[in-house]
Each structure stands twice: as C-alpha cells, then as structure tokens.
Symmetry: D2
Subunit: 201 residues, 4 copies
C-alpha cells in the first residue's frame, strides 16, 4: 500500500513536471492557433490566403483565423501560435498596407520591448505581376520583420514561401500556385506543432 | 539673303532638336533638380535629410527641394532629375509611410506604364536604432523600388547609401553620419550632372 | 500490492507512449548537436564563432562542433540538429568560401531532392568593416540558403543574427559583439531543444 | 551673306565648346566597352549572356567582350565602361564562382581603396530552376556588390535585371527570356552612352 501511494506521488509529480497541460489524451492532437493575414486589392492575394488556410487546417489541432491586415487585433496577434502574412508586390516590396501592419505591432500593439511574438512560427506568401519583380523581396522582408521580433521562421511551397505570378502566360492564380499556398499552410502547421509540443514540459 | 535665311532655319531647327535649352554659357553649370524626401518621427531621419540637401547643393547647378514623403506632389516627383529617399528602420525595412509613398507613384501619380521616372538618378538613406537591424534592407529595398521604375541608382556615403545608428554608443546623429549624408547628396548631384549632360547632345 | 503493480504498468505504458525515446531520466537534458562553421581570414569571424560556440554550450544537452567551412564533412552536416554559419562581408555579401560551402551541399553532399537539412535549426553571424556595408545582406542570404533547404530559421544577438563591425571606432571584436555571438548560440540551442523535443513522441 | 557666315561661325564655335573631346564627327557614335561575364554549368546562363551581348551590340559605339567569370583579367575589368554579370541561382544566391569573382576584385585585382570601378555602369542577370527561388536575390546582391564599388547601377529586361526560369512549364531559355536579356544589354549600352558622354566636357 505504501509503495502504491509512493507511485501515485511519483506519477503525479512527473505529470506536473513534464506532461502537457492541460493533459491531452494520447491520441488527441495539440491544439494550436494560426493567424493568416493579407492585403489584397484584386483578389489574387486573397485567393492564395484561402489556400494557405486550407493547408493549415489540414494539420490536426489547427484553429485558423483569416483576416485582412487592417482588421487584425492585438489579441489576434498575441494569442496566435503562428502567423502567415501575404502581400501583393508593389514596387519590389510588400504593399504599404502590409508594412503599416508590421509598424503597428509596435505603434499600436506594443510588442516591444517584451518581444511578445517571440517563438511564434512565421511565414510569408506573395503575389506579383511578373516572374522576378519583387515576390522574393516581399517574402524575405516579411520574414526579416518576423526575425526582428524573434519569431521562428520557415518557408514552404517555395524557397521563401508560397508565391504566384498573376500576369503573363498564366494570369491570376492557377492550381499549381494554390497547391504551393496549401503546402505553406501545412508546413507552418506542422512546425508549429513541433515547437508548441517542445515548449510544453 | 536666301542662304542666310536658310542657315537661320537650319540653326534654329538644330537648336530646337538637339541644342541645350536654354543655351548655357560655356562656364555655366547645367541646372538640375534634386528632390530629397523622407519620413521622420523623432527628427533623426530629418537631420540626415538636411545634410543630404547640403551635399546636393554643393554641386554647381543644383536646385534642391526637401519634403516629407506625405507632401510630395506629382509635379515634385516628375520634374526632378534625381530623387533621394530616406526612412527610419521599422521592423527591418522602410516605414509604412515611405512604402506608401512609393505605392502612390502608381496609385496616385500614375507613373506606369510610361515609366515616368525612367533615367532619373536615385539613392537612399536610413536611420536605425541598432547597427545591423534593417538599415541595409531599408536602403536596398528603396533602391529596388527605384530600379523597378527604371531609374539609375547609386550609393554614396556608404555601400548602399548614407546611414546612421541612433542608439547605443553614439545616440542620435553624429558628425560622421552627417558627413556621410552630405557625401551622398554630393554623389547624387555629380552623377545627375553626368547623366543629364550626357542626355543633351 | 496489486494496485502498485498496476501503477507500475500504467507508468511504464505512459512512458512508452509519450516519453522521449530513448528514455531520458526526468532531469536529463535532451542531447542535441550544433555545428558552428565559418570562414575567417583575419581572425575576426573566428572570434565570433568561438563565442557562438560558448553560447550554444551553455544550453544543457548541447554537443557543439566548430569547423571552418572547408573542413565540414557530409556527416558533420547531416548529423547536426542545428547549424550556425558565419562569414566576413566581402562586397556586400558572404565570402566566396562560404557561398561555395553552401553550393557543395548539393554538388558534393547531395542534400537535394530529399531535403536532408529539413527541420534542422539554422542561424547566421557576420563581421564587416563598416556599419552598413553588407552584414545584413550576408546574414539574410545565409538564412535564405537555409530556408531553401527547408530549415527552421532564427535570429539571435541581433535582428538577423549576431554581427560585429571590425573597423572604425571599435576595431576588431569587442565585448558587446562577443556577447551578441554568445546570445545567438544560446538562442539556437534553446530553439533546437524545442524543435527536437517536439519531434519526439 | 555676311549673316550666314556669321551663323556658320557661331555654329562652329558652339560645336567646339560643347562637343566631346577628342572630337567625334557629328554622326560618329561615342565608343564604349561593355564586359559581359557569367558562370554557367548547364549552358542556360551562357545563352542568356549571349543575348545580353547582342542587345549591348545593338547600341552604336559598343565594343562588347564576353567572358566566363574565371577568365576575366584585371585589364578586362578596369578598361570596361560597363559590366553585366550573370549567375545561375545556387541556394537562393549567386553561385560560389560568381561570388569568388567579386571577391577577386580586391584579392587579386586591388580595386580598393581607389574604387577603380567607380562610375562604371553595372547590371545583372540570373537563371534559376523555379520562379521565386533566388533570382531576385542573385540579381540584387550582384547589384549590391557593384554599389559597394561606387558603380552606377541599372535594371533592364525586368525589375532587377533579366532573368530566366529554367524548369517547369518552359524548360531552358525561351524566346521571351532571350528578349529580356537583349533588352538588358541594350539598356546598359544606352545608359553607358549617357554617362560616358556626360563625363566628357
């Protein structure tokens, strides 16, 4: 009897120290929150955003919120476990709306000096008229903003993230580009599970 | 009399077609217009902007206009021969205000599809709190926006343009940083003279 | 007595299901391997590399290897859990030696198409003569190479990674720059623990 | 009659004052030298390079040299008026061969501290397997190396320079991509004429 009580105590202590809190059933996925946010004037970036959402939702445990950058609240931002930001290319870079969204992390939401986005997973997607006219720079500078916030950054659906060329031979968003967007969402979901699971003791 | 009239006509036609207009005396510098524009919240980028103006003004022939990005008109932009844009670093990139200024080239001023900024000389300057936290990216992406507009791009006062670190050991803008800003203005003025003179026959 | 045996069984089963495999004692840190690699001509980048190593070693469980880029073997690369790459700035970018190291991932080590570096944690550090003459671009393009390999990327000791300005007011590597390098190593170690722990079921 | 002679004199004098020295016949183009240099393993970047050469040769006065980066001599480099550098994308950046070429500007050719490339016109082209996997970064970092050398930088055939996607729907180099390469060569030729003509008094 004494030894069984002892075991109880050991198990209880071990559970407190290293078990997921709240405890999940063995086969229950870890819940995590993904915020997908974008700016879109023509609807192209929005289409990509919806496919990113689909991809993220395919990962068990995902709760995904989709919002335009102008509608994101402080709570949306700080309660997410992962953030995926999409922008059209305007003059070789993200649009002013998306840049202003990042600026507001500090100016409106006060992310610094506590680095409130620290260890959240981040990724990017972009749409642009021409093949090489700023989609890479747009994605890389979105990731750079995230790195400055001490986020954990990944690609997916492409070397820097998912992207679509909206003019030329295949105008608008084609199926291959949607597949890349879904791949990005899935990739972010999977890495977020790793990081969040790893962060629980 | 007929022949002299003919000559007159020839000279006149030649003058209209290829001569400098208005004709400059041999020792008179070629006039050129430089627009220096910036965003500044704390005054640091504005100090740099004023030093850039000084540098540009040191080049004979320069007419320099200094404006905040929000105040630049279509005419300011399209009548300039050179453009120097400065931004503080916000999250590893130019500020939303400066990005929106570039977006407005198309959305408000209709720069495309004629590439109305083509062959104007462009350059950048930046201020940022830390040594390596986005000043390079800010300057490079300003230059990238200019390259997308078929401008002719130069550095000056540093590898990508003039920059200042506003926190740490030397808070605010120090004399060395002002010197770099002046050097940038002078460099842009000199290259603008080359390009503008070369464009005249 | 029966109940204690039962408890034993429960504990054992639970351990099998969710404990790290091979099982670690409750207070034993998860072991992980970090490869710190660099190119250095003057010794400055090497000094930073040694401080990065120190920082990584401060994280319990870390096994850290330090090598010049030319000495890294296929095994060093593929058995690491995290990779931190440092380069001096040569003409606004990483040095040819470091770029060739990355090229060899495919040309010599055959990293693709299996994406053998996938999910390893990556980070960068850089040294350069001037404040804004390529350290950011060097770090960002190191991270871009890692993102193309589907690595998980972080900063640390600065917005893009740790960096040092080796000329001017504070020649060589000063204590503040070494502290940033140590911070980068520590940051990478901590994120690697998260990711590796999260990857174990 | 007198007046026509007077006009003749005026015209002649004016020609002496503003003509390039040494005097070129009115219809004689200003001669200028363009160096096109590249690295190519599969032949794709070489095809682009040849089209860049064609474009540059279409500008009256052009003398164009085409060389692999490893064959460029100090004299090739320093006697050129313009330089166009092409690279395949290896891991989101120029190849190690091209990076080493830039490093050699200092290590072998001693370009610094005199800034021997100052005021030469520079531009870039790139080939890469996927749409957004490093062509932009490759071109931008080639331009960044040139800016650090105080060169005068332009785009052409695309927002950052000419580029080709060599896998996917249109494998290899297609006619549209060759047209972009020719456009880049022509653009560089034209700007070089402006700058060189402007530099003559």
């Amino acid at each position: 009897m004494v030894s069984s009580v002892l075991w109880l105590a050991v198990v209880w202590a071990w559970g407190v120290l290293i078990a997921p809190t709240p405890t999940l059933a063995a086969d229950e996925p870890l819940p995590f929150a993904v915020l997908v946010t974008y700016h879109s004037r023509t609807g192209n970036t929005e289409k990509m955003a919806r496919a990113v959402v689909e991809g993220a939702r395919s990962v068990p445990g995902a709760r995904v919120v989709l919002k335009r950058v102008g509608e994101v609240t402080k709570e949306d931002l700080f309660t997410s476990d992962a953030l995926i930001v999409g922008s059209p290319v305007y003059w070789s870079n993200m649009s002013g709306e998306v840049k202003t969204f990042f600026d507001n992390w500090q100016l409106k939401f006060g992310v610094f000096p506590e680095f409130k986005m620290r260890n959240k997973v981040g990724a990017a997607f972009a749409t642009g008229g021409q093949v090489s006219s700023g989609k890479e720079v747009t994605m890389l500078t979105i990731l750079a903003a995230m790195l400055g916030n001490q986020m954990i950054v990944v690609s997916g659906g492409g070397a820097f993230g998912a992207s679509a060329t909206t003019e030329g031979d295949s105008p608008g968003i084609d199926e291959k580009e949607l597949a890349a967007a879904r791949e990005l969402g899935k990739r972010v979901g999977e890495v977020t599970v790793l990081v969040k699971r790893g962060a629980r003791k």
